[in-house]
Assembly symmetry: C2
Amino acid sequence: MVNHNRGLLIVISGPSGAGKGTICKELLEKNDNLFISVSATTRNPRAGEVDGVNYYFLDKDSFIQKIEAGDFLEHAEVYGNYYGTPKSKVEEMLLSGKDVILEIDIQGALKVKENSQEGIFVFILPPSMEELKKRIIKRGSETEESLMTRFKSAYQEINYVSTYNYAVVNDEVHEAVKKIESILTAERCRVDRIKENILDSKEGLIHEQLYD
Amino acid sequence: MVNHNRGLLIVISGPSGAGKGTICKELLEKNDNLFISVSATTRNPRAGEVDGVNYYFLDKDSFIQKIEAGDFLEHAEVYGNYYGTPKSKVEEMLLSGKDVILEIDIQGALKVKENSQEGIFVFILPPSMEELKKRIIKRGSETEESLMTRFKSAYQEINYVSTYNYAVVNDEVHEAVKKIESILTAERCRVDRIKENILDSKEGLIHEQLYD
């Protein structure tokens, strides 16, 4: 049974250079009931980083125990450090009715999809391939060959759009944010989410109005 | 292949007394690209009614021919007159990129669902069962028994919500309209609608940026 007071899990993902971070920042600023999932990591805290705010800082053993216990929606190892999305923390927020954003790369999103039935998967697209090219060049690639590699990677990544529910072009950040807000509003109206709620209040009618 | 310039077909339906008409009127006023499907009928035009605006007025033979040719998304006979939604007219608007509303009762919506793969089905709910009761009483039912029958009919009708994509509570008309507008925005971002479009522009990248 779907709990109709449960929050929404929204996965914001897409190729690097598409502008996921800027979009999530504005979404969070504008929506009081929206919270970002804080990742867990085994890397050392940097100056000013606070446990539970920037990351949940874990030692390697604890992290591996959590992997084995299935407590990550996704995790990855990058340069010898682990990073992951703690399932229990996300679940806690959703249960309390908060909407939760995961801002995540494509590989991570695919893993979340394997581990969660309820995510709303939004693929952020760069405004155009021309613009993506500019952004890739801007980030610096010295050789023609490495430029070629980056293009090919972007090309490959965009294929994954098929596994997402929605695609939003990040042409203008405000417009992209408004589209995602519309997606959240629409998802709250989806019958498969709120059917129980509607049918419950219908039962109310029968009892109160007909048989009392 | 999905044509990404094709308009959306949105079916606004629900039990009588839910306020479908008021919602559609405001939706049409606010959205320039949204058009309502004009029904065909065999009943005689009333004073001031214009063919093609209020209805397409057809004689009975033409109507029956069109039924047999499969040219109605749905049709029904009411007190000896036929009423129906002309498939070809709707198709014409969708092809030209217009979004089309069908404002229709539940039986009609179920028939449209059988005849069309692409409709977005929105069920309009009364604000509460208490409010529906008031509206039903207001419309006048003399006996306790007929009141009972009307309640039971509303009760049965709400079961059909399960076959719809979205449900919107008509608590406050402006809010309900905004929700439907969000649903339209979200549907335009659905990957299954725009995948071809995205992958086409990706092909553009490969040709222009990599191999030229």
